[in-house]
């Protein structure tokens, strides 16, 4: 499988496949948690030291493009604590704009797995489509690339780092009330 970059040669195809399968399961479980607003489960899938990062994008001439940096504006640049802060708002009992709830749907695809730098870490890339439907007829779409570092902690995977690269320059909705 010369054109799979996903692993060292010390692993067999079957091992690689099992790994890929396992990561898919992990994402499917995560997706369900996010679709269902089951944030307790979601937090349990994030590492204590998770960096959850979604930089904003600008429309630039190719010559002016630069690597993303958290110094630039971010939609999210979160730790587990600040993520919990955001969810605390939702459960504060007075997040009026979240009741009735938003109908979310995450479509995760194109999962690519390779071994990470650190032992027990995986580098995973995926694409995601997030659909939001709200109230009578509001519809919003978010498409993005996700680049994760997953960590194996006692046989459980956790997101240690996630970078979400959105495909928009101007967010086409009144807010960003969803995680990707």
């Amino acid at each position: 499988m010369a054109n799979s970059k996903m692993s060292t040669d010390t692993m067999t195809d079957t091992e690689n496949m099992l790994l890929w399968y396992r990561v898919n399961q992990f994402y499917n479980q995560e997706t369900r948690a996010l679709d269902d607003e089951d944030y307790e489960t979601w937090f349990s899938m994030l590492s204590e030291d998770v960096q959850y990062w979604m930089p904003s994008r600008e429309t630039l001439f190719r010559k002016d493009e630069q690597a993303d940096t958290t110094k630039h504006m971010n939609h999210y640049n979160e730790t587990l604590q600040t993520l919990q802060l955001r969810v605390a708002r939702l459960y504060s009992g007075s997040a009026w704009a979240e009741d009735p709830r938003t109908r979310y749907r995450h479509i995760v695809s194109n999962v690519e797995v390779e071994l990470g730098e650190q032992k027990g870490e995986l580098k995973v890339r995926s694409n995601t489509l997030v659909y939001r439907n709200r109230l009578e007829r509001e519809e919003y779409w978010l498409l993005a690339k996700r680049e994760d570092i997953l960590r194996d902690v006692d046989g459980r995977l956790q997101v240690a780092r996630r970078k979400i690269t959105p495909d928009f320059s101007s967010l086409l909705s009144k807010n960003l009330n969803v995680f990707l």
Binding site: T59, M73, W96
Partner: protein, 441 residues
């Protein structure tokens, strides 16, 4: 646009704004013909914020933005001056520059290759020989707006009859200085821009920031609770009898004088931030005096420069509400800091600013649905005939103060600034030219 509506627009508009009792007609948030007048009689005549100087620091730096719905390029020319000109080719009208920002020597149009300088001048054309000198290039440059800069903030205006920017800002400069003039080095924008779209009338954003402290305790109760781990509306949101609304020329400022309200929010989890600001008070006071440096700065404050530029001192967000039709606007937001701030303070401020006032921010997240539905509800012909209530402490709270420029009312929970905003709005829409626009003190 041609007058063709078969009724007296100005008379109709005057009936829509009742300053005495504080009533506003819902149609100003809905009707197409009113929006068209806004573009032609307000946005095409007023000074408008277009950039911070730091965004175009060096010659060749540029960005693109909108004045009304006119896309413009803001660029620093080699003469060191900031130029603002329409971003549409004088040949056949194609847009010239498609980047949000960047650095360039010139702007080439994609269609036929006309080339314009960073001052908007027509420099040449692809295969120019075809023109056989028949074009006087000096007549075919991009249309420049007047540009004036107030302590780093770049404003532009397409009306030659408009007074200067200092006149336009008037007494309001005293308040702007609280953000812009804390230090010798002045301010800068960091981290670029966040843009998002609201299906709402642009004025809801502007009026919310000019004086709507009332909504904070309710709309943002969830964000506040989250910030304070479940506490009720926190102590740093007091109803201080000395808190005030100030307005001048339609620009408005509302806030407290406890000097600490906003710093409390911003420094949550970051004590070094509040320490830093306290350590700056003495120097600030040398420039701004005790009242502004010690009592006003740091309080919960929100402000709007007429018509569509708003900011939150302390929170450090500056933003403009770009109209996209009567029922849609785009918000563009930046973070402003003092140039002399250390990196760790900048990082804390930028993160706190994003966490509270970005589309995913704990506070901002809840505003949009209010504004969108306050707009959309007016689709109903029965609903649209109902007057709205802008009467909070109207006619009872005027408390002018020798220490505070502009029209002062107390406490800050009132609709006084909103009405001053709509009074100014009416001044523009009722006027045929700047001669007819009264000077509102």
């Amino acid at each position: 646009m041609l007058k063709s509506r078969g009724f007296d627009e100005v008379e109709e508009l005057k009936k829509m704004i009742d300053l005495k009792d504080g009533r506003i007609d819902r149609r100003i948030f809905w009707e197409d013909w009113i929006y068209q007048l806004e573009l032609e009689k307000l946005f095409a005549k007023s000074w408008l914020f277009v950039a911070h100087e730091s965004q175009v620091a060096k010659p060749g730096d540029f960005l693109t933005t909108y004045m009304g719905q006119d896309n413009v390029i803001v660029s620093r020319h080699k003469d060191g001056k900031v130029h603002v000109f329409t971003n549409s080719c004088t040949h056949r009208g194609n847009r010239i520059c498609f980047a949000d920002r960047g650095k360039t020597r010139q702007f080439n149009c994609n269609y036929h290759g006309w080339a314009f300088g960073t001052d908007g001048a027509l420099m040449g054309m692809h295969e120019e020989s075809h023109y056989e000198g028949s074009i006087d290039k000096s007549k075919w440059g991009l249309q420049n707006a007047r540009v004036e800069i107030y302590k780093g903030l770049v404003f532009a205006c397409f009306d030659n009859d408009a007074p200067g920017l200092e006149d336009f800002l008037g007494d309001y400069r005293w308040y702007l200085d609280i953000v812009l003039d804390q230090t010798e080095e002045g301010t800068e924008f960091i981290g670029g821009c966040i843009k998002n779209l609201y299906n709402a009338n642009w004025k809801f954003g502007a009026e919310n920031f000019i004086g709507d402290s009332l909504h904070v305790g309710w709309t943002h109760d969830s964000g506040t609770k989250a910030m304070t781990a479940g506490g009720a509306v926190p102590e740093y949101m007091p109803v201080d009898p000395n808190s005030f609304h100030a307005n001048a020329n339609g620009h408005g400022w509302e806030g407290g004088i406890d000097g600490i309200g906003t710093l409390g929010i911003m420094s949550k989890g970051h004590p070094e931030l509040i320490e830093y600001f306290q350590s700056q008070r003495d120097d600030m006071a040398k420039r701004l005096g005790d009242l502004r440096a010690r009592k006003i700065f740091g309080s919960v404050i929100s402000a709007t420069v007429f018509p569509n530029f708003s900011f939150l001192p302390g929170i450090s967000t500056m933003r403009t509400w770009l109209p996209k039709g009567p029922r849609q606007f785009e918000l563009r937001a930046w973070t402003v800091v003092n140039k002399n701030m250390p990196d760790n303070i900048r990082d804390i401020i930028q993160n706190a600013c994003m966490t509270s006032f970005s589309p995913s921010g704990l506070f901002e997240m809840d505003d949009g649905e209010n504004w969108e539905n306050a707009t959309l509800s007016n689709e109903g012909v029965i609903t649209r005939k109902q007057g709205l209530h802008y009467g909070l402490r109207v006619g009872t709270s005027r408390r002018d103060d020798p220490e505070l420029p502009g029209n002062i009312s107390r406490p800050m929970y009132s609709d006084v600034n909103q009405l001053a905003f709509y009074q100014r709005w009416l001044d523009f829409l009722a006027a045929d030219s700047w001669d007819d626009i009264p000077k509102q003190r």
